[in-house]
Symmetry: C2
Subunit: 345 residues, 2 copies
């Protein structure tokens, strides 16, 4: 029978099993890596749970685990992505993101300097989005039992009064607005992973959209549905909206913004940009009388400058998404079976 040696190993620059064991080295990691990057009074209490004061009303709650590879990619890293993704999941529910938890799984031997970069990036992204990381957890597994770093963030937000967006609220006649170019995140990560970064200037769109979405809801609170087209891309999101709301969707291919380099890469690789993950985009379904106001509000934000109406909801073919192509033909946009790119977020 063998036990792990509880003594610190020679290499002090790397994550050790004892960093996740709840003892002195766990506290040291907390004091040197996590607290400086995430510091706030609630986290500093170091109780096993954070105590929050929320105003009465409805609260949104969401969770996501980030397993992206590589951990650092053009335009971002797993730390900030773990904030952006969860903040956006709250924002598209009509909530004001307020509090995050952060649960790390670290592989023994992972460089502490890289961990520090990731955690400080997570802290900066949280500060920028106006959310506090109030509670956390770190586990360490032996070398080879996970791939570097996985991060779970769960988030709590306050749902605004008078806002009632849901994937079931799409109605025939609703305009579908996309906040910018599709597929930047997936293609940037793919190129980094396959060593193609030299040939492309495309960066991930990874960003928190809560400020932009706030501005949109201010000018037009009557939005029916919002979703961020992450895993499975816009194809999955639009199929989910159509199916949950029992309406059809018609897209105009020519209206869908795609960065020229991304379009080129997709054509080369035989990938449909509609099925590629995004991490800083939102699809908004809005009654036709609100479309201009929403479009204007989006375009005033740096993350929405390429916003466009890409289609509309119809009473025909409920649950089915149809694309009118540039050549005038029509094709069904299917729910992707899976994802060409595993570990994209």
């Amino acid at each position: 029978m063998q036990f792990e040696c509880p003594l610190p190993q020679a290499d002090h620059d790397r994550v050790q099993i004892a960093h996740g064991a709840g003892g002195r080295l766990s506290r040291e990691l907390m004091a040197t890596v996590f607290m400086p990057a995430l510091n706030n009074p609630m986290l500093a209490e170091l109780d096993d749970q954070a105590r929050l004061i929320l105003p009465p009303g409805r609260v949104a709650f969401t969770t996501d685990t980030y397993v992206i590879t590589p951990l650092f990619f053009p335009g971002g890293n797993i730390g900030e992505l773990a904030v952006h993704g969860t903040v956006n999941d709250l924002a598209v529910g009509g909530a004001v993101p307020r509090f995050l938890s952060a649960g790390f799984v670290l592989e023994e031997g992972f460089p502490l300097a890289d961990l520090q970069l990731i955690v400080s990036s997570l802290g900066q992204a949280a500060a920028k989005a106006g959310v506090s990381v109030v509670t956390g957890d770190t586990k360490v597994v032996q070398k080879g039992q996970c791939d570097g770093v996985f991060i779970n963030t769960s988030g709590i937000g306050e749902i605004r009064e008078g806002i009632d967006v849901s994937c079931r609220h799409l109605q025939p006649g609703d305009r579908l607005i996309l906040s910018g170019t599709l597929a930047d995140h997936g293609i940037a990560v793919l190129c980094a992973r396959e060593g193609l970064s030299m040939q492309m200037s495309v960066e991930s769109d990874s960003a928190s959209l809560n400020a932009m979405i706030s501005a949109v809801l201010e000018v037009f609170p009557g939005i029916h549905a919002m979703r961020d087209p992450t895993r499975g891309g816009a194809a999955a999101t639009l199929n989910e909206l159509a199916s949950a709301s029992g309406v059809g969707i018609v897209l105009e291919e020519e209206a869908i913004p795609v960065h020229p380099e991304v379009r080129g890469a997709c054509e080369l690789l035989g990938i449909d940009p509609l099925t590629v993950a995004n991490e800083g985009k939102v699809i908004i379904a809005v009654p036709s009388n609100g479309a201009d106001a929403v479009l204007d509000a989006l375009r005033r934000d740096v993350h929405g400058k390429n916003a466009a109406v890409i289609g509309e909801a119809v009473g025909d073919h409920p649950g089915v998404v149809v694309m009118r192509t540039a050549y005038g033909s029509r094709r069904v946009v299917e729910m992707p079976l899976g994802e060409q790119l595993p570990r994209i977020c």
Copy 2:
């Protein structure tokens, strides 16, 4: 350049990459594995965030990632453990646990039948503890990039009016009450891992303690501090309490309940039961006038039948935990550096 094949593989009994990709197979996994086990109206809405209604007041928020190995151990499995641990972290904060999130990381090739067992066990544990799993996420990584299944659960609870427990509230004179035998979880898992299960009848104590803690708070709301001695064991928990509150602690070795078989295993293996993880125990610091009431309330619950006063807080040696041994000597109980047993929770 190579892509993962997005088509389903031949083996339909195992987790595939596409199960985590947000497309059709993700929905299938949700419909066949997760929804039946966790079903509740909020989860069924399938939005990217759950909408909760919480009464005005203070809210507790906590997170934990479970990476235990083996996934099935005497007395439990990772699914129910992921409920018990997070429910207990809320309960020891004086909160009534209400809502959980569940984030799964699955290894490609993991048997779907085992996943079903784990998820259904998680669902049963949640129902038993009176909490709802209202939002979730599933990621799949390639074979060899994680070890079977990791589960993050985050939890939201309502903090009771008039309850103010904290690891900083220990006061000299407080009695320290332990709810039962120490080290059962760690030793049961260790024996299962090392193939010693035949020689031991000890099972993990993994359990949700929120009902027992509710009963205790009802009879004596003036409890100063509560903590569940998980990773790092009672030694870590008591050192944290002493250090956060700036008081000393004196323990009576003979008063600390340890199952005879667990004591034997610890002696054989050279492990101090004070440093071994528990998953169904709580340490309560209570003013001396409340000790009897708390002890009675604990002993009326099946999880507290072996509850005992194990020591008290003192004004001397602040931050230091001292044990009076069975032989009349005194020794310092140090904060463990790490944990002898990685991946214990």
